[in-house]
């Protein structure tokens, strides 16, 4: 969680696939859209590459929220079906979060296409508002390095 001077400013880590969501985050930039500066984007080639381990690491280190984002099912995925693999992994993962004392609302799995810059902005806005409402994450888990 981040140190707050006045209002609590959450830190949200985003894992984005190269072809759709990362392109949408770029488009939001080139279109000069505006959103809160709370997100940090990590690029992977495919949402199927995103390991739940990364998300756990992010929460353990102090993330207040995590977004995993890829291409729309059924057919947008550049690698045929990586988005489905992400879907399977993270729907299961989401259920496990509560058992670790992390509210499910701190985690979002999103499909954002390369054209949906406005959708990206909307997701960021919603997530920041949501996490602000939840307050800083006080993790009660230890991740071994």
């Amino acid at each position: 969680m981040s140190e707050t001077k006045g209002e609590f400013e959450p830190k949200i880590v985003v894992y984005a696939c190269n072809w759709c969501t990362y392109a949408a985050t770029d488009l939001a930039g080139t279109s000069r859209m505006s959103y809160p500066p709370n997100v940090r984007i990590i690029r992977v080639m495919c949402s199927g590459r995103i390991d739940p381990q990364f998300v756990l690491q992010a929460f353990a280190d102090g993330a207040d929220g995590v977004i995993v984002a890829g291409c729309h099912p059924p057919a947008d995925c550049h690698y045929i079906e990586g988005n489905y693999k992400a879907y399977r992994r993270f729907e299961l993962f989401r259920k496990l979060l509560e058992t670790m004392g992390i509210e499910q609302e701190r985690f979002r799995l999103e499909w954002i296409s390369a054209a949906e810059a406005s959708r990206w902005v909307q997701v960021v806005n919603e997530m920041v508002t949501q996490v602000k409402k939840l307050g800083p994450l006080k993790p009660n888990l230890e991740v071994r390095e």
Partner: protein, 650 residues
């Protein structure tokens, strides 16, 4: 990596694009405090010549072994900077981009907050850079040869195109002749006969020394990868060799008679037969599936062209690519579907097409039940568009145009005949619409039905069709002498074997799936395998021919250099860590991973030429043995930890 990382960080102003919102000086100062950063600078346009020169000079002066460029999105200038660092002698994969423009300066307005965020983005990039490794592009030799499966128009077109380009081509056809179904179609458009197109293509195939035609042949096994396939092809015996003079005496003595598939069952043929008059290769063939080997033909042949001792042979062919053009099967109406099989005057569109061919049993005359009918009705969408219980959901694309074309031909030949076309929607898309107009002018009568399909009655008074005409909302009872069922297309019967051998996959409708429906219509998801014609779904002849050309073109552009470059950002196995659990094998969308035995241990093996670098195997690997180069666990974890100022140790 034994060498201690020495990182240079370059912060771009991008004019005011970045510098207007982000304090670039502060970002550069901050970068200097990060572990392993030796030098950090800012400059107005890093992508400009002087900007790139600055980086190159620093690599040499400071002996840098990693570079972080903090500027725009990697999609824009990653290649630019990779080229720059490689010009300075550094492996180009030792570059990391920090996107502080699209992800920061352009989307935020508060300068202080944007600067803080930019610092963290740089920290994340530096953290990943510390763990970057040099990567090498690999090159493998590639065969400039191809195996074309299927000798129809699409396959022949592909083979001709490839041969023109200097490729050696094996044209593998299951039947005893090439030509496919187009050879059997009377008229493919008002002026062109199917047989003419095919025989012109035969002439070109014959004259081309680079094309080897293998008939009665099938692909039984495929191993290897793009550029280096080994195709096992079984050559089934033809029992007739090139000494055959087409005298036909053998045919007379042959005691076996079966339905003639080359006339769509309109007549019978013998076990030894010539598929059609200009078949290629131009010899008789014995249907090995029905021949009883009585030896009569062998005895009667005066030219020693027949040998019943011939055995199947299996050959290994080394090819660089595979083009699948095995076409379709016509829909098979069940007995009684619109009266099919119950009356000799109820036939399929293919049978009608055969009848209208001058080379047909009736010499092109429309004779059904021994006479020329006074009226004929086409029923469209038989087997397509969910019309009947056994029908497919898709539209078969070619049946409307083919039926209307035949109707126009019939009207030209027999102007007094009543011709009806019963349809749901007329699919004469594009310029074929003119044919529809033409049919209207020739007084072909169009009758539209919707959900309620027409009913065919066979009575002592003759054939009747009961239909609810949609546009006038009335029930009609039409007496007709002949009925043509415009049957659609099905995936070929042996598609399961094709899938098993070539590892292509199918969509819900049963045809082979292309790499991308819109933008990669002739490529299979597996590199080196291409698709042409109706194997991916219904097409007309022209579209199939164009796909043949396109598939050949794709094979050429892949292999024309005689070598293939393999991108280095792919999966790599740490053999010591791998437990051989094979989870990765199942998740790989490209079948690039297999399990090999190494000194008795099961180890995952990545076929580099097949891996497309998605990294999903890495995420699935329980032991961390599988790593996605360029996006390894340690690199992404380091990036994650750096968000919060943490580190992963080198």
């Amino acid at each position: 990596m034994t060498e201690e990382p020495r990182i240079g960080v370059y912060v771009c102003h991008c004019g005011f694009n970045i510098a207007g919102t982000v304090d670039v000086k502060k970002v550069a100062e901050f970068a200097k405090t990060l572990p392993n950063v030796v030098v950090a600078k800012d400059y107005v346009f890093m992508c400009s010549e002087p900007g790139q020169d600055l980086i190159k000079a620093d690599i040499k002066a400071h002996n840098l072994n990693r570079v972080v460029v903090s500027a725009c999105s990697p999609s824009l200038h990653e290649i630019t900077f990779r080229t720059a660092v490689s010009e300075a002698g550094l492996n180009k994969y030792l570059l990391e981009m920090a996107n502080i423009r699209e992800h920061c300066s352009w989307v935020h307005h508060d300068k202080e907050k944007a600067t803080e965020k930019a610092k963290e983005i740089v920290r994340m990039a530096v953290a990943k850079a510390r763990h970057l490794e040099p990567l090498q592009e690999l090159e493998v030799k590639a065969e400039t040869s191809a195996l074309v499966l299927g000798g129809g128009v699409a396959g022949m077109r592909a083979a001709l195109e490839l041969a023109n380009y200097g490729f050696n081509v094996y044209l593998v056809e299951k039947a005893p002749t090439i030509g496919g179904k187009a050879a059997l179609i009377g008229y493919v458009d008002p002026k062109t006969k199917g047989a003419e197109i095919v025989s012109k293509m035969f002439d070109r195939v014959k004259d081309c020394p680079r094309i080897q035609v293998l008939t009665n042949a099938e692909l039984i096994q495929l191993s290897g990868f793009a550029g280096n396939y080994i195709a096992k092809v079984r050559l089934n015996p033809r029992y007739v060799n090139e000494k055959c003079t087409l005298c036909g005496e053998c045919e007379e003595v042959c005691p076996i008679e079966v339905s003639n598939e080359y006339n769509f069952g309109l007549n019978k043929r013998k076990a030894i037969f010539l598929p059609f008059s200009n078949a290629y290769p131009p010899y008789y063939a014995i249907d090995y599936r029905v021949c009883v080997k009585c030896g009569e033909c062998e005895k009667v042949c005066r030219f020693g062209a027949i040998s019943l001792k011939e055995e199947p042979k299996v050959v290994d062919l080394k090819v660089g690519s595979i083009i699948i053009a095995t076409g379709y099967d016509p829909y098979r109406p069940f007995k009684g579907e619109y009266g099919y099989g119950l009356h000799q005057n109820i036939m399929t569109l293919f049978q009608l097409e055969r009848l209208l061919d001058p080379d047909s049993p009736t010499k092109g005359e429309l004779i059904v039940g021994n006479k020329i009918p006074k009226s004929i009705a086409f029923i469209q969408c038989v087997g397509s568009r969910n019309t009947t219980p056994g029908a497919k959901e898709y539209c078969s694309r070619m049946c409307c145009t083919t039926a209307i074309n035949s109707a126009v031909k019939i009207k030209e030949k027999y102007p007094d005949m009543n011709v009806y076309i019963l349809y749901k929607d007329i699919m004469t898309y594009g310029s074929d619409e003119t044919l529809y107009e033409e049919a209207g002018k020739k007084l072909v009568q169009f009758i539209k039905f919707e959900e309620k399909i027409p009913k065919v009655s066979i009575t002592p008074e003759g054939l009747f069709i009961d239909v609810f005409e949609y546009t006038i909302q009335e029930n009609l009872r039409i007496p007709v002498d002949a009925i043509v069922l415009s049957i659609g297309m099905l995936p070929p019967r042996d598609i399961e074997e094709l899938i098993a051998v070539t590892r292509v996959s199918c969509g819900g409708e049963g045809f082979v799936r292309e790499a991308h429906l819109k933008l990669a219509p002739v490529e299979a998801p597996t590199k080196g395998i291409f698709l042409a014609g109706c194997i991916t779904g219904p097409k007309n002849i022209l579209e199939s021919i164009r796909m043949g050309s396109a598939a050949a073109a794709k094979a050429m552009s892949l292999l024309s250099k005689g070598k293939l470059t393999i991108e280095p950002m792919i999966a790599q196995v740490n053999e010591e860590k791998c437990s051989g659990c094979a989870i990765c094998v199942g998740v790989c969308p490209y079948s690039a991973i297999s399990i090999k035995k190494v000194n008795g241990d099961r180890i995952a093996y990545v076929e580099k030429a097949l891996c497309m670098g998605c990294g999903t195997c890495n995420a699935a690997c329980p032991s961390g043995a599988m790593q996605h180069l360029g996006f390894k666990d340690i690199q992404l974890l380091a990036q994650t930890r750096a968000v919060f100022g943490g580190e992963m140790n080198v």
